[in-house]
């Protein structure tokens, strides 16, 4: 259910948890929350986890509709709150800024920091995915020239993003980890034997990167209705800095939606509905994802000239 690679231990830093319903002192105001990076990190972790849970890669049995609806509602709530306190717009603005040629250097610097981290981790630097916000707008990642399908960047993003995401989980820009209680026993975390096994088996690979690219695809599948507002004028570089550890393409749901061209654009419950009544199945959509990856690899080889 929960991909093993992303299982985490959290230390109790004593901060308020996203989940705690019985806050001792008064709940933080929205303004205070905006400043609380640990809360933002927890919220984003919760968003990530929810998107992973919504992976509809069931091989055999139909997904539990009630569970899917509750998780999707949770994601909506997070998105609404992030929209209200400006976090969502900031991320989309960061994306837009990274696309402007004049801002390339800034964006590149920001992005290359991540790429360096990936290189240190032993991976060859891969092009970083920066994708357009407006529908239909696709751009190649910053450091390369020419237009290539966004699909390319989505796949090549895979190996890089887990470093970022785990970086954002483990130590945010302010050095605080999310403060959920530790998983005490293995028993708590064991996957149920129910039909809810949601490993993206069809992807065929165990790496975190594939899980995350599947997450992105899941975001697309599930959140067809979540539209990113068009970005405002160029953002504050300081704010970009704030979210430099965040993998923007991953959270840009609308981008994700438009990124996977070959997958049919379906709303979240279209997919659920089609699973339960008629039409394409999870199997077919995941197999198309797989062929996308092969195609992208091929394109990458041409570009890189290997």
């Amino acid at each position: 259910m929960f991909p093993k690679g992303t299982k985490r231990k959290f230390s109790d830093s004593g901060e308020e948890a996203v989940s705690s319903g019985d806050q001792g002192p008064a709940s933080p105001s929205v303004a205070a929350r905006t400043l609380s990076s640990s809360y933002s990190l927890q919220r984003q972790s919760l968003l990530d986890m929810s998107l992973i849970k919504l992976q509809l890669c069931h091989m055999l049995v139909e997904p539990n509709l009630c569970r899917s609806v509750l998780i999707a509602n949770t994601v909506r709530q997070i998105q609404e709150e992030m929209t209200q306190d400006g976090t969502w717009q900031i991320m989309t603005q960061a994306l837009a800024a990274a696309q402007c040629p004049t801002d390339r250097l800034v964006a590149t610097e920001v992005l290359c920091r991540q790429t360096d981290a990936a290189a240190q981790a032993g991976q060859s630097p891969k092009p970083y995915s920066v994708v357009g916000v407006e529908e239909g707008y696709h751009s190649e990642e910053v450091v390369m020239e020419g237009d290539v399908e966004t699909d390319v960047t989505m796949s090549t993003l895979s190996p890089v993003s887990p470093q970022l995401s785990s970086a954002s989980y483990l130590a945010g820009p302010f050095g605080m980890g999310p403060c959920w209680e530790e998983e005490e026993e293995d028993g708590e975390c064991e996957e149920e034997e129910e039909e809810d096994s949601e490993e993206c088996v069809s992807e065929g690979e165990e790496g975190d990167g594939d899980h995350l690219s599947a997450d992105s695809r899941t975001g697309e599948q599930v959140f067809g209705t979540f539209e990113i507002k068009h970005p405002a004028p160029p953002p504050d570089p300081a704010l970009e800095e704030l979210f430099s550890d965040v993998d923007p393409s991953y959270y840009d749901l609308d981008t994700v939606l438009t990124g996977m061209q070959s997958a049919p654009k379906m709303g979240p419950y279209d997919l659920l509905d089609s699973l339960s009544s008629h039409g394409p199945t999870a199997l077919s959509s995941s197999s198309s994802c797989r062929s996308d990856l092969n195609e992208l690899d091929h394109i990458m080889e041409i570009i890189v000239g290997s």
């Binding site: 259910m1 929960f2 948890a17 996203v18 989940s19 705690s20 319903g21 019985d22 806050q23 709940s27 919220r43 919760l46 986890m49 849970k53 069931h58 055999l60 049995v61 139909e62 539990n64 509709l65 009630c66 569970r67 609806v69 509750l70 999707a72 509602n73 949770t74 909506r76 709530q77 997070i78 959920w180 209680e181 998983e183 005490e184 026993e185 293995d186 028993g187 708590e188 975390c189 064991e190 149920e192 034997e193 039909e195 809810d196 067809g224 209705t225 709303g267 979240p268 419950y269 279209d270 659920l272 509905d273 699973l275 339960s276 009544s277 008629h278 199945t281 199997l283």
Partner: protein, 434 residues
């Protein structure tokens, strides 16, 4: 005493996991359904004359395969054979009838006894082989001879192809002629004699599935008013509907919802408010709902809040993030009334189950496990320690085994006998008769 604790990593054949438990109207029979599609019926044996101070025990009466796994070729998906619910019909003759359902198909089963056999047929001999008619020289009347009791289960009706989504509830109407079945988005009304059509009485499917934010989680017919039923939702609401008002009961007669406490709002508020079970009291005056952390009793005449709220495991409120991560937050616990509606029972984790006395407001936590359940031994109350200091015999929240969940419990309609399903084991507990 056995001091070895059970291994929390015990391997269990998943097909043996009990998925529903239900007493019949008299309490003489107890049915269980499991993940493998089997139904096992237990029968209460008469008290022994030698030991009148003990109630009789429940022994296996009948076992049969109710549902088989199916494959939906259109959608390339398996349909699980797991029995989601069993509901008994009131007994009208010597045979017993029950409804059992998986995600898609409801079946009416007849369970009948055979303890006599006819012998002395004219046209066939004792082995069943046909006799040569020309060799028959005289006629005889077949005689009924006693035989070992045989209990036969035969499917009498199959109610199929009426549910696009997964069936979560079935409920027999007080008219004893109709019953309702509910899936995530629709509720259908059936006549027990008619299998090729049903009436759709509730449909909450939006035109655009992208707009779906709420599903039906449980439904039940009123125990006395055959035109009234309720259904609960994933948003913590209950709607009471009157079938006389309209053919399609999309508009409710009553709407039950407790206002949210703004100070305890979190991202998990909606999930933990989702109602996993709804049960009318035997009297028909109240109904009980189970959400993730509590059980609520509602007076049917008061829609704006429950009249009683019982905390099942409030210590889990600070653990909701972990429980969301391991999916336990989506566990669907059931609840049940005792025969006089004075007590209610529901399950929890670590094989614990909770009972609440509505009159005295006392509650008790008990454990259904081999170690703590020697035959004839009295169950010892359990306690979960929530503070820093753990007293002796208490168990800390972090030591709870979340794989050992008690989702299904049943209370005898008349006596103080309860059935508790703990994964693949069935426990039957009864009061000692003084």
């Amino acid at each position: 005493s056995n001091s070895v604790r059970s291994d929390s990593h015990q391997f269990v054949f998943s097909a043996d996991i009990i998925s529903t438990v239900e007493f019949n109207y008299s309490g003489e029979l107890l049915a269980t359904g499991d993940k493998g599609g089997r139904v096992v019926i237990f029968q209460h044996e008469q008290e022994s004359k030698n030991r009148p101070h003990l109630r009789g025990e429940y022994n296996v009466y009948s076992t049969f395969q109710s549902h088989e796994p199916e494959f939906d070729y259109l959608k390339s998906l398996e349909i699980e054979e797991k029995i989601n619910k069993i509901r008994w019909l009131p007994q009208q003759n010597a045979a017993h009838f029950l409804l059992s359902t998986n995600d898609k198909t409801i079946k009416l089963w007849k369970i009948s006894e055979r303890d006599k056999r006819a012998e002395g047929y004219n046209l066939k001999d004792e082995d069943g082989r046909l006799r040569d008619p020309f060799r028959i020289t005289s006629l005889r009347v077949p005689v009924l001879m006693p035989m070992d009791l045989m209990v036969e289960a035969s499917p009498r009706r199959i109610f199929a192809n009426a549910h696009t989504y997964h069936i979560n509830s079935i409920s027999v109407n007080s008219d004893h002629e109709t019953y309702l079945s509910a899936d995530d988005l629709r509720i259908n009304l059936w006549h027990l004699e008619i299998t090729d059509r049903s009436f759709n009485i509730v449909d909450i499917k939006p035109a655009n599935m992208e707009e779906l934010t709420e599903v039906i989680t449980a439904a039940e017919c009123h125990p006395h008013q055959c035109n009234v039923f309720v259904y609960s939702s994933s948003k913590g609401t209950i709607r009471l509907c009157d079938m006389r008002a309209a053919a399609l009961c999309d508009r409710h007669s009553k709407f039950f919802e407790e206002p949210e406490d703004p100070s305890s709002r979190s991202f998990f508020s909606e999930i933990i408010s989702s109602i996993s079970d709804v049960k009318f009291s035997h009297s028909g005056r109240y109904m009980m709902t189970r959400d993730y952390l509590s059980v609520k009793v509602w007076d049917l005449n008061m829609e704006n809040r429950p009249v009683e709220t019982y905390q099942v495991h409030e210590y889990l409120r600070s653990k909701l993030c972990s429980l969301y991560e391991n999916d336990c937050i989506f566990d669907k616990f059931e609840c049940c009334w005792n025969g006089s509606d004075s007590a209610i029972m529901t399950g929890s984790y670590n094989n614990f189950f909770r009972m609440f006395d509505r009159n005295t407001r006392r509650d008790i936590t008990l454990e259904a496990s081999r170690e703590s359940s020697k035959p004839r031994a009295t169950l010892k109350p359990r306690k979960v320690s929530t503070g820093g200091k753990r007293k002796k015999d208490e168990i800390s929240v972090d030591s709870l085994d979340f794989n050992k969940k008690i989702l299904h419990t049943a209370w005898h309609p008349k006596d103080n006998v309860i059935a508790v399903a703990a994964t693949n084991n069935l426990y039957i507990f009864q009061d000692k008769i003084n």
